[in-house]
């Protein structure tokens, strides 16, 4: 059975008019196609969000700079945060989940293919709506343009009185619509994982990627919805004269904060848990050992999911809650670090005693380990409320969360790209370009985000379009900006690699990494129906059992 004969008609087949191909992609309900659409969509917005970050960094490169006006700067950090969270991180992670979960559990598609498409297009619409604000937001008196209220949109700054025009409405509605798309995708993932596993794959035999996406999707159901509810309330305030967050009518500004962070904190775990999944699939293969402590990895993730719903007010330590509330959120925020730290030890235990191959996916995984460790430790510092009274709202926090999001999430994503690109396209990404991308990015990342902690410790607050000289922040900011440019170059190398390898990369074959989960048993790219016949599995590593029939995992589980 040659891979080409089984391949679904794709863009490489000659002679099909491009409109037909486009129509096929726009109307697809195939989980693999939708996964690719999510990922491409996210990559485009990654570049746009990166441009916004570059503008921010150029403006902050020296004190009293006038590269952009304060109004433009405030729009830039609002759009950068909103774009990166809702239109890069969420789509790319759901894209990978969409592509991989059915293949890994031995299913032909997701439980609800049309819901899958609907959810994607809702997210896509949200992104377009947000960016339309640049064009359409200009109302009377120029009041209205891209939103400039920050990605967290605290009230009462978002009230009609302080945010006239429509810019805040673009933020609210775009994120609301995208949120509904995310909820739809989560429902689909849960139904797929619970209802469509192949025979023999009971829950204790699922790949960790399936388990962690299951937990993540459960969190989405109860974490994204508080934000949707709060945004509906905000729209009621702005359009129907409601008073949910109207402090002049007795409303509470901190109510928005509570609702937002009840969403906001679990959201960051929603983003990192799929990255834990990537680590848990990739590190074992390149250490040539199974994941160390599979049951605990599942248990720790479930623990994280529950505990993370109780930590939200550590984003609000400075608003003047009582000492009892502050103590409560301190302890929960520290406790959530325990299962998270355990996972680092489990990956370490996986590598220990193995035979580690330093291919590009593994390089990014190792980078993740170091950086996530540091990010977790700065998180512990922030969890201590009094320490947070100094660190909060400063560049220390910005450094911390970029350490998690760029040093953690983005590194894991790069690993995932290099690992699964061969499966998705049938071609290997260039190892030499990959290594160049890795080292450039590591240098740029550390130059920017290690140094960024220091202005925070020296009193530099967030969200400021300029700063005073003589506070000790000047040189640091310059170094940070230079590092940002280096990261930008690295990302361009990556995009170049993606594009060039599509045509010139080595043919990948079914299983270029000698891996053990079901997706590597089909051709690269997989046929439209995934599996010729639905497989039956007897262990967590079905392909290990096939490759080592004298010593299958099923004897040990």
């Amino acid at each position: 059975m040659s891979a080409d004969a089984m391949a679904v008609p794709n863009v490489r087949v000659e002679g099909r008019p491009w409109v037909e191909i486009l129509h096929e992609w726009v109307t697809t309900v195939d989980h693999k196609r939708l996964g690719i659409l999510y990922i491409l969509y996210a990559l485009i917005f990654l570049v746009i969000g990166g441009l916004e970050a570059t503008i921010i960094r150029i403006q902050l490169m020296r004190p009293h700079n006038d590269f952009v006006s304060p109004q433009v700067f405030n729009r830039m950090f609002t759009m950068h945060g909103t774009t990166m969270i809702f239109f890069v991180a969420v789509p790319v992670l759901f894209g990978f989940a969409n592509y991989l979960v059915p293949l890994m559990i031995g299913a032909r598609d997701m439980a609800f293919p049309r819901l899958n498409a609907f959810a994607f297009w809702l997210t896509a619409l949200g992104g377009l709506l947000l960016y339309f604000s640049f064009l359409g937001g200009n109302g009377l008196y120029g009041a209205g343009n891209a939103p400039d209220v920050g990605w967290w949109a605290y009230s009462p700054l978002t009230a009609r009185a302080f945010a006239p025009g429509h810019s805040s409405d673009y933020w609210t509605i775009a994120v609301l619509v995208a949120g509904f798309g995310t909820i739809g995708a989560a429902i689909n993932l849960i139904a797929t994982i619970l209802c469509m596993r192949c025979p023999g794959m009971h829950l204790g035999r699922m790949p960790l990627l399936a388990w962690l996406n299951l937990v993540m999707s459960g969190m989405v159901l109860i974490a994204i919805t508080p934000l949707s509810a709060a945004q509906i309330m905000l729209l009621i305030d702005r359009y129907l004269g409601g008073h949910f967050f109207d402090t002049q009518a007795g409303g509470s500004a901190s109510l928005w904060m509570h609702f937002f962070w009840i969403f906001g904190h679990p959201e960051v775990y929603i983003l990192i848990i799929p990255c834990f999944a990537f680590m848990s699939e990739i590190v074992p293969v390149f250490s040539r050992k199974p994941i160390f402590g599979y049951p605990v990895m599942v248990g720790a993730t479930v623990c994280i999911a529950f505990v993370s719903m109780s930590v939200w007010a550590h984003h609000m330590f400075t608003i003047g809650m009582s000492s009892y509330a502050n103590s409560f959120f301190t302890i929960t925020s520290m406790v959530v670090g325990i299962p998270t730290g355990i996972k680092i030890f489990n990956w370490l235990g996986t590598m220990w005693g193995g035979k580690i191959q330093f291919k590009t996916p593994m390089l990014f995984c190792i980078g993740f380990l170091f950086q996530f460790l540091i990010a977790g430790l700065t998180g512990i510092m922030l969890a201590s409320a009094p320490f947070d009274w100094q660190l909060s709202l400063s560049y220390f926090v910005v450094a911390h969360f970029h350490y998690v999001i760029v040093g953690g999430i983005l590194f894991a994503l790069f690993a995932a790209f290099y690992y699964w690109y061969p499966k998705i396209t049938g071609r290997m990404l260039s190892e030499s370009l990959g290594k160049l991308h890795f080292w450039l990015f590591v240098i740029g990342f550390h130059m920017t985000f290690d140094v960024m902690h220091i202005p925070g410790l020296l009193g530099m607050p967030r969200r400021i379009y300029t700063y005073e000289p003589g506070r000790g922040w000047d040189t640091m900011n310059l170094i940070i900006t230079i590092g940002a440019f280096i990261q930008g170059v690295a990302v361009l190398v990556f995009v170049w690699n993606l594009v060039v390898s599509y045509w010139k990369g080595d043919k990948a074959g079914n299983d270029p990494w000698d891996a053990w989960t079901l997706e590597w048993s089909v051709s690269s790219p997989p046929p439209a129906y995934n599996f010729a016949s639905i497989p039956t599995v007897a262990s967590r590593r079905p392909l290990w059992d096939l490759k080592h029939p004298e010593d299958p995992d099923s004897h040990y589980e």
């Binding site: 030890f345 035979k355 430790l377 510092m381 009193g459 080592h548």
Partner: protein, 363 residues
């Protein structure tokens, strides 16, 4: 189930020993490096920075500083241990060219190891939490002594209003408080309110930050142990000019503070030579936003100007308080602080000069 190991290439089961000797000396080295770094950062400001959180001059900031050193020490140890193990594993367990086709022992887990590395973090968290809770209570629940100076701070877009209710003083942007002698403490207790959106009062050397939230009353305190000028700024995004809502706290000796209070309690200076400017002030829209005691101006939207010239800066620290800047500010505020809520007053040059001369007498 978690303990079973698998042999796939005939090698005997190996228990990997950690190399204690190497780890300990590395740990010691890291501690030395870390503490010298901490000392460097903790050097008193200047020359490093006037807003250095590691250079406290007041009890709340000092409590936070002491706690932060404890937290940093613990996290440094954790980092050193895990970092060393990571480096060790990627060096020691590299695949070599002779390994092709042979898989290492397939280890699925170990109950004892996993228990150990759960228990230790739990203990660390308990210790950290207890240390933290102590400081939370010490700072937040500190009683207010009778000798405290009481200030009400009201946040505006984009300036600070300071009222001393017991002393009958209203000023803006620059706070004067007395130094506090530990023997006879005279701390300053601030009540924090907001007139519009959220703000945050942050002067790192004096205290951690506390937010100013509309429809809510927050409290904070500080007891600086030396005189000087301490800088800070608004830390909660409040709109276009959040970046230039700067803070200047002048900690005065007891005598200087009393003298300042007395000067602030006087009504506005009545200088006969500038009545023309004063008339311009009283007959234009200035009086709608600003207050000058003893005149018709009683607006509360903008800063109180009664003792404008007692301040070093204008526009909440955005510019030095000089005649040229004052003139520029009144004529075109956007040139100094684009997006501030002060409108350009559109006066002709003669009126502008007279007005600025008048303002210059408000000491």
């Amino acid at each position: 189930m978690a303990e079973t190991k698998k042999i796939s290439n005939g090698d005997p089961m190996q228990m990997q020993c950690t190399e204690h000797a190497n780890k300990m000396s590395l740990l010691q080295m890291v501690m030395v490096v870390f503490s010298s770094a901490a000392t460097a950062v903790a050097a008193p400001a200047p020359p490093m920075s006037p807003t250095n959180i590691f250079a406290p001059v007041s009890t709340p900031a000092k409590s936070i500083f002491d706690l932060s050193l404890f937290v940093l020490a613990i996290t440094a140890v954790i980092f050193a241990v895990v970092f060393t193990l990571l480096i060790y594993s990627i060096v020691k367990f590299r695949a070599t060219s002779g390994d092709a086709g042979r898989e290492p022992p397939q280890v699925y887990g170990s109950n004892q190891i996993e228990l150990a590395w759960t228990v230790v973090p739990v203990l660390v968290v308990v210790v950290l939490f207890l240390a933290t809770a102590r400081v939370i209570h010490a700072v937040q629940d500190a009683p207010k002594p009778a000798t405290a100076v009481e200030v009400t701070a009201i946040g505006h877009q984009f300036w600070w209003e300071f009222r001393y209710p017991k002393l009958g003083i209203v000023t803006a942007n620059e706070l004067h408080i007395p130094v506090s002698d530990p023997a006879r403490p005279t701390p300053t207790f601030l009540k924090l309110l907001s007139a519009d959106t959220d703000h945050s009062f942050w002067v790192p050397q004096l205290a951690g930050k506390t937010d100013l939230i509309p429809n809510r009353v927050n409290e904070m305190w500080m007891d600086p142990n030396r005189t000087g000028v301490f800088l800070g700024q608004c830390a909660q995004y409040c709109g276009t000019q959040h970046a230039k809502m700067l803070l200047r706290v002048s900690v005065d000796s007891r005598d200087d503070f009393d003298a300042w209070v007395r000067a602030q309690q006087q009504p506005a200076a009545q200088d006969e030579t500038v009545t023309a400017g004063r008339r311009i002030f009283e007959t234009t829209a200035c009086i709608n936003c600003h207050m000058i005691s003893g005149t018709a101006a009683d607006g509360r939207f903008g800063p109180d100007l009664t003792h404008l010239m007692s301040r070093q800066t204008i526009a909440s620290g955005a510019a030095e308080n000089t005649t040229e800047n004052l003139r520029l500010w009144v004529q075109n505020p956007d040139a100094i602080k684009p997006g501030s809520l002060m409108p350009a007053m559109k006066l002709n040059d003669a009126d502008l000069d007279a007005l600025v001369r008048y303002l210059g007498t408000l000491r």
